[in-house]
Every structure is written in structure tokens, then in C-alpha cells.
């Protein structure tokens, strides 16, 4: 028989860390300049694909880089830093290549229709917008916003993964470092698929909140983030309880 209340009391700190990680992922998506299908046709500002694909691409890279660091050290700060940097590299590479395609392939300048002046460079935007579009390519503010967002996402993903492994650590009697450096340890698979599941849920919730597209922190839709954060808080907390019972009860 599993002592559910005992497991939760024992792992309360990791329960909260998983929840925090989920909320971080949820908030991070609001920073990422997601353009969706219109941006793929250079008719809206942002990267031309959906929120889930972008969040998954950047966030899962964060999970991998965080996991790689866990095999070397037990220090949570280094693990989180590794996850953050991994996700940021992934999204900045995506954005710079997308901009090359927009500039040299499609042949349009970077411009946003949501603001008149870029909040960072103060460059005029409205003069450069092609008629009938909402803007195109990634402006400086979107680029910086995207990098910040991916950083939060990678940190959140790393936090969830680390906390999940820490729960299993007690049950397995090994440290996270030892678990990660053992080839084919069953905890790694279970914790990573839980982390992926929690990650996808928290990537989809904010994408429903922003209605599929956003340009970054200067977009008016960005103000809606508390709604997604609240939803993710409740949903991730539920999942965290399930994770504690599953991993802790092994």
C-alpha cells in the first residue's frame, strides 16, 4: 500500500519546485514571438510556427542540456543555468535563421504593426510594413523577448526535471548525479517522460491564452499572462502530486 499523505509530506519541497517550474514554462511562452501560420507567409511579426512547436523545441533542448549537467554535478544552480542557456541558444538560432529567410529569401524588413516605435531601438516601425500585413520578420524587441522567454522555459523545464529526479533519488537510494551517469537507469526514463508531459501541458495552456500568436513582451496580449500562470499553477500542482506518488512510490 502506498502512503500517499506521507510521500507528499516528505517531498513537499519538490512538489512546490515542480509547480514553480510549470508556472515558469507557462509564463515563458508569453515572451516567445510566435507568429503561427500568418508569420510563415511573412504576414505577421514572429517566427512562423505554433507555440507548442517552439516551446517544445526550446524547452526540450533545455531539458537535454540540464540533464547533461546533472550527470556532472549535483549543484541545482549549475543545472538550471545549463537548462536556461541551452534553451536560449536553441531559440536564438531559430530566430536568427528565420530572420535570414525573411530578409534574404522573402525580401522584407523586420517590422511590427503592434507598436509605432520599437521599445528598445526606438526605430520607426509603421513605415516599413507591407500593405495588408501585421508586420513581418523579427524585430529587435521580439528577438530579445524571445531569448528571455526561452531562458525562463529552459529554467522551468530543468527545474521540473531536477525535482522529479530528486523525488526518485530518495526511493532509489542514489544521488541524481549517480542516476544520470548510470546507463539505462529506469528513473531517468520515467522522470523525463513526466517532465515532457508536464512541459507540453504548460506549453499548450498559454498558447490558448494568447490565441495562438504574440510578438513579445511589448504585445498587448502579454498582459494576459496571470491567467495562464494561475491555470498552470493548479494543473501542474495536480500533476506534481501524481508525479510524487508515482516516482516516490517506486
Amino acid at each position: 500500500m502506498i502512503d500517499i499523505a506521507g510521500l507528499i509530506a516528505e517531498n513537499i519541497i519538490y512538489l512546490l519546485l515542480i509547480t514553480l517550474g510549470g508556472v515558469l514554462i507557462s509564463v515563458s511562452v508569453h515572451f516567445v514571438p510566435v507568429g503561427g501560420a500568418p508569420a510563415a507567409m511573412a504576414q505577421a511579426c514572429g517566427i512562423g510556427t505554433g507555440t507548442v512547436q517552439l516551446a517544445a523545441g526550446a524547452g526540450l533542448t533545455g531539458l537535454v542540456t540540464a540533464g547533461a549537467m546533472m550527470g556532472v554535478t549535483d549543484n541545482i544552480l549549475l543545472v538550471l543555468a545549463s537548462g536556461t542557456v541551452g534553451a536560449m541558444i536553441m531559440i536564438t538560432v531559430t530566430m536568427i535563421v528565420a530572420n535570414w529567410v525573411y530578409f534574404y529569401g522573402v525580401g522584407c524588413p523586420a517590422a511590427s504593426a503592434k507598436v509605432k516605435y520599437d521599445p528598445i531601438t526606438k526605430d520607426r516601425q509603421d513605415l516599413y510594413i507591407s500593405q495588408g500585413t501585421e508586420g513581418h520578420a523579427l524585430t529587435t524587441v521580439s528577438f530579445i523577448s524571445g531569448a528571455i522567454g526561452a531562458g525562463f522555459g529552459g529554467m522551468g523545464g530543468g527545474l521540473v526535471y531536477y525535482a522529479l529526479l530528486k523525488i526518485g533519488e530518495v526511493a532509489a537510494g542514489l544521488t541524481v548525479k549517480d542516476i544520470m551517469s548510470t546507463t539505462g537507469h529506469e528513473l531517468v526514463g520515467l522522470a523525463s517522460i513526466f517532465a515532457v508531459g508536464i512541459f507540453f501541458m504548460n506549453a499548450v495552456i498559454p498558447s490558448y491564452n494568447i490565441g495562438g500568436t504574440i510578438e513579445g513582451f511589448h504585445d498587448p496580449k502579454f498582459k494576459r499572462w496571470p491567467r495562464a500562470a494561475l491555470t498552470s499553477l493548479v494543473v501542474t500542482f495536480l500533476c506534481a502530486i501524481l508525479a510524487v506518488v508515482t516516482l516516490g512510490g517506486m
Partner: protein, 275 residues
Amino acid sequence: MSAGGSGEAHAAIPENQLIAFGIIGGLVGIYAAFFLSNVAGGVFSFMGALGAICATIWGADAVRRVASYGLGTGVPSIGMLALGMGVVAAMFGLAVGEGIGLDIAGPVIALVVASIIGLVIGIFSNKVLKMNIPVMEQTMTEIAASGTILIIGLSVAMTGTFVFDVVLDNVITTGYIAVIFIAGGMALLHPFNANLGPDEKQDRTLYSALEKGAIAMVIAGIVALSAQNASAGMVTILVGIFIWYFGFMGFYSRVKRDAYKVVGTGLLPSEEELE
């Protein structure tokens, strides 16, 4: 017909029948594979994949009902959400089933837990995220539950059982769970995503779901070749190929029925013909 954003989807098959088909068919498939696992060297593990296909058809119909209101973002997001909820609930259900010493309760616990998570996300989507889709709560519950049955069904097809330790060793640690995640998610999200538009018809979408579920079944069979034995794997693959053929021909005949005209384009013109 049902286009994204056009409101309620019209259905020839009532949703209650599909819900019953998904839950009963899914659980019967999973339990039949489990109880027959010792018969004839585990060849009946393909029943688990049949259960997964029942859940796929149900889940694809639920995706169709909710996505026809227009989600604001692409249909693929809901498939990933379904499998995200499903994988957490499925692992919890199987682990708790083993933890309380009652393995056979695992799939039912997973189904109940998935429904709760789905309901919570559905309520929050409408009340907090203000998506204002009338069927959101119900369909989210259905999607989470069908995703869970899909994951457990394909795991059973791969290993022949849903005992958590076996699934952990043969499906999760080996990484095949990622295959289930993407192949299963694709089976849920792709049918409506591929068929949506003003001429969308329920039977065409559901035949597409059957065909996608069969592809996942064939993949589960390939895994079963190594996870179980050659005979169990081959039976799953052959049954999967047969269902795929049936599903694809059913889908293609409905494409021909709904299209204004289907014509062959012939081969690409040669250089001389273009000049």
C-alpha cells in the same frame, strides 16, 4: 461540415455512441490482451492495440468537436496536450495499481485520474483563459481519457501486459514511450487537422483516425518483435497492416465521394513539351 471557427460540428454518429465505443472498446482490448497474455505465446497482445484504435477514433471525434469552434492556435496543440495529460495519468495509474497490489485496477485508475485532469483544464480554459467554447469541459475530459487509453493500449501491444515494472523496463526505460507519445498524438490530432474545412465530414475524419491508429499499431508491433517475441510482434504488424489498408481505402473512397472531381495529373511534362 465543420471548418475551424464555424461553431458546433455536425455529426452523423452521435457522440455518446463514440464515447461508449472508445471507453468500452479500449478497456476490453486492454484487459483481453492482459488476460490472454499467457495464451499461445502472447499473440493476443495485439488486442491492446485494437483498444488503442477504439480510443483513437473516440479521441479524434472529441478533437473534431472542440477544434471546430476554432482554438485560436493550431489543432496539433490539442493532441500534444492530450498525450501530455495522458502520459502523466497513465504512469500514475499503473504505478498506483502495482503499489496497492492490484495491477488490474491500473488502467481504470489512470482513466479516472486523466478525466479529472482533463476536466480541470477544461474548466480553467473556459473560466480563466476565457476561451468560451461551450463543449470545452466535456471534450477536454474525453481527450485526456482517450489519450490515456491510447498510451496504455499501445504499451500493452508492445509488452503484452500493463504491470508497471514490465512497462517501465520495456517501454519507458528503452525510450519507446517517446514513439507512443508522438505516434499516438499524431493519431489524435492529425485526422481533424488534415480534413478540416467547409467540406469536412465526420466519417471521413474518423476513417483517417482509424488509419492513423493502425500505423501506431504497426509501430507497436515492430517494438513487440524485440520486447516480446517474433510471433506476437508479427501478429500485431499483420493485423495492423490489414486495418491500415481497410482504413486507408475507406478514407480514400470518402475523399472521392466528397471531392468535386478526382483526376490524375499524369507525369511531369518533359522539357520539349514545356518549350
